[in-house]
């Protein structure tokens, strides 16, 4: 299932999102946006260390009922999916906050303000469950990371953080 509302001021058509997205290399997208990919292996290692640190959440989130209200455990596979996603994520964009979600997903949140945020969530089953607010418009959809970060996700995140 994929749905997203069109939001003209974004400069692109969010209504065109599809569940099996036509992917493009994230760097292609970023180059079109006049952004540059990272160059240094050392800085890439620093970024990977940062990613690993962000994903190092309290082990309690891997257990059932971690919030006392029946929360579902976040599976180890969700952490690994999120790690793989972030390792491929363009270094020119900021890293997200990592959030354990009560329905057993691991969320990566890019946040500017309470009405401008986007979250990519993982549950260890290979699906990217995405949702966010762009002003009064709600954007949401499911994607698959068959060969890299879906370009539509990069577009929305860029809109949030730019």
């Amino acid at each position: 299932m994929t749905t997203a509302a069109a939001f003209p001021s974004l400069g692109y058509d969010l209504s065109g999102l599809s569940s099996r997205t036509s992917r493009s290399d994230p760097y292609d997208f970023l180059c079109r946006e006049n952004l540059r990919p990272p160059q240094s292996l050392a800085s890439e290692q620093v970024r990977r260390d940062d990613i690993d640190e962000r994903l190092d959440l309290d082990p309690c989130y891997r257990e059932s009922n971690w919030n006392g209200e029946g929360a579902d455990p976040v599976p180890d596979a969700a952490f690994e999916e999120a790690r793989a996603f972030l390792y491929q994520f363009p270094a020119i964009l900021p890293l997200p906050d990592v959030i354990a979600e009560p329905d057993g997903y691991l969320g990566l949140e890019w946040y500017r303000n309470k009405r401008l945020l986007y979250v990519v969530s993982f549950n260890g089953q290979g699906v990217l469950s995405c949702s966010g607010l762009i002003g009064q418009t709600k954007v949401y959809g499911t994607y698959y990371m068959d060969a890299g970060v879906p370009s539509e996700i990069l577009r929305i995140i860029t809109r949030v953080v730019q």
Binding site: G68, E69, D103, G104, T142
Partner: protein
Amino acid sequence: MPGPVIDPSETVSRYLFKEDIRSDETIRYQAFLPSSSNPNLSVFRVFGLSDQEIWALAVEKVEPIRRKRVIARGDLSVAQVEEKQLVVQPDAEITSRHANIVDWPPDREKRATIAKDLAALASQQAKRRDQQA
């Protein structure tokens, strides 16, 4: 004491913990996201209570279950909840003041989006003062 029927003008409070609040003091969406296995979001009906009594309700009813300190709350009107096609369902025992937000859509992405919307609407949360600890 609130009655058995919820009025749209009533306020319900969602008690919040440290991890539910961002550094800019807005509410994180996961505070309003129910689990998959138990898709009810716990709230309290605070009609007629003083601010001090609302925090006392947290100390009595929530902190023992969550085993940590409530630091804030997000207040929503029932009308705001119902605008999202959700239902505030009070417990049979009215004196508990407890209710659940129910009827979440089956689609996970829709639920997550509604949670973000509710968190944004409720972001004018009251923060618990130290003397009320």
